[in-house]
């Protein structure tokens, strides 16, 4: 612990990731909530359309990883501040770690394995570039 200085690493990471997240999150929000139709325009076609583009794939991956690690490290601090009973603290920290790893793996898999034109789906639900069935 002392030699690795993990707390320092975490502190620096919070700041670095924070700066990057600003760019990522605001782009994400603008694209998803502020274009025509706003939140109402979000559907499978929209998402799948975006994720077919490698730029958005990498963009979303960065967003996913950074936000989750940043948020998780933040939550770790909060738990360590307020949960003083050692057992409960351990349980919560483990839960936190497990859910973060799960979400990162799950999210990354989704981003890279999503088939934008799954067979047997009505065309009106799909991105416009899907070949007509």
């Amino acid at each position: 612990m002392k030699t690795l200085r993990l707390e320092r690493l975490g502190w620096i990471f919070m700041r670095l990731s924070g700066v990057v997240l600003i760019a990522l999150i605001f782009t994400h929000l603008t694209v998803n909530l502020m274009q025509d139709g706003g939140v109402k325009a979000i559907d499978f076609a929209f998402v799948a359309g975006k994720l077919a583009n490698p730029f958005w794939q990498w963009f979303d991956t960065a967003l996913l990883w950074l936000a989750l690690i940043h948020g998780t490290n933040g939550m770790r601090v909060v738990i360590q501040d307020y949960v003083l009973r050692p057992r409960l603290r351990k349980v919560l920290l483990t839960l936190l770690a497990v859910s973060t790893v799960t979400l990162i793996v799950l999210g990354t898999l989704v981003i890279f394995t999503l088939d934008p034109c799954p067979a047997g789906t009505p065309a009106d639900l799909l991105p416009s570039f899907c070949p007509a069935v």
């Binding site: 612990m1 200085r5 707390e7 975490g10």
Partner: protein, 243 residues
């Protein structure tokens, strides 16, 4: 200062958080009406209570002018020295709330156990470590001396540490006062053990727990820019000491 002119007196209500470990299971609030002058300080009010109304009221004090650090307490919800808080600076149309500082074990009335506070202080090695044995004094320029002037003012009153929300959580955080004491030596050109102190403060309960809430800076009766000192220690822990 009543000799200095005709100063009017008025009644101030103090609401004091009392606790006597020998008879009480929980602290409770008690109010006292006290005749005060606007030039009086909160410490004078407490003395008037102790000397004229209830001798069992317990608090620490010594110098009565903000230099010994005995009487840090929470006055109207903020940490201050009772001897430096003038009645005229408070809104006396409302009662004045006085209670012990937060986060250290409550011993009696306004008295807390200071030992954990001093333990953190001792841990940062707050003393000059120098292997050079000058014939006379060490050489130090005016600029080098100025570099750590602010943090030499600390009177170890604990107003900062016990105003820190992070310290309140579990009392394990070194706390701003200990960091201030470390800062005073880390940035002293004569000292050779900066890295040792930085290693200590790099630990789990060290500087990284500070969330820049500035309560410490606001509370410091000596006007030390505590959060700035902490920020400088953080930077030193990342990229080395620049004196």
């Amino acid at each position: 200062m009543s000799e200095l002119g005709v100063v009017q007196s008025f009644t101030v209500t103090f609401i004091v958080r009392r606790f006597n470990p020998e008879t009480d299971t929980e602290p409770y609030w008690q109010d006292f009406d006290v005749e005060m002058f606007s030039t009086d300080r909160v410490l004078d009010g407490l003395h008037k209570i102790k000397w004229d109304q209830d001798g069992s009221l317990s608090f620490r004090r010594s110098c009565a002018h903000g230099i010994c650090g005995s009487d840090a307490m929470r006055i109207n919800g903020r940490n201050r020295l009772a001897c430096k808080t003038l009645i005229k600076d408070l809104d006396i149309s409302k009662p004045v709330y006085v209670e012990a500082i937060k986060g250290l074990p409550l011993e009696k009335d306004l008295i807390v156990d200071m030992e954990p506070f001093f333990a953190a202080y001792r841990e940062v090695q707050p003393f000059l470590q120098s292997t050079s044995k000058p014939k006379k004094e060490h050489h130090q320029t005016i600029e080098q001396r100025e570099r750590f002037d602010d943090t030499t003012k600390c009177i170890l009153c604990a107003a900062c540490t016990t105003s820190c929300p992070v310290f309140w959580t579990d009392g394990q955080y070194f706390g701003p006062a200990a960091i201030v004491s470390a800062h005073r030596f880390i940035f002293d050109s004569r000292d050779e053990a900066s890295q040792v102190r930085l290693d200590i403060l790099n630990s789990k309960e060290g500087v990284w727990r500070c969330r820049t809430t500035f309560n410490c800076t606001e509370a410091c009766p000596r006007g030390i820019e505590v959060t700035k000192a902490i920020a400088e220690v953080k930077q030193a822990a990342i990229s080395g000491v620049r004196r």
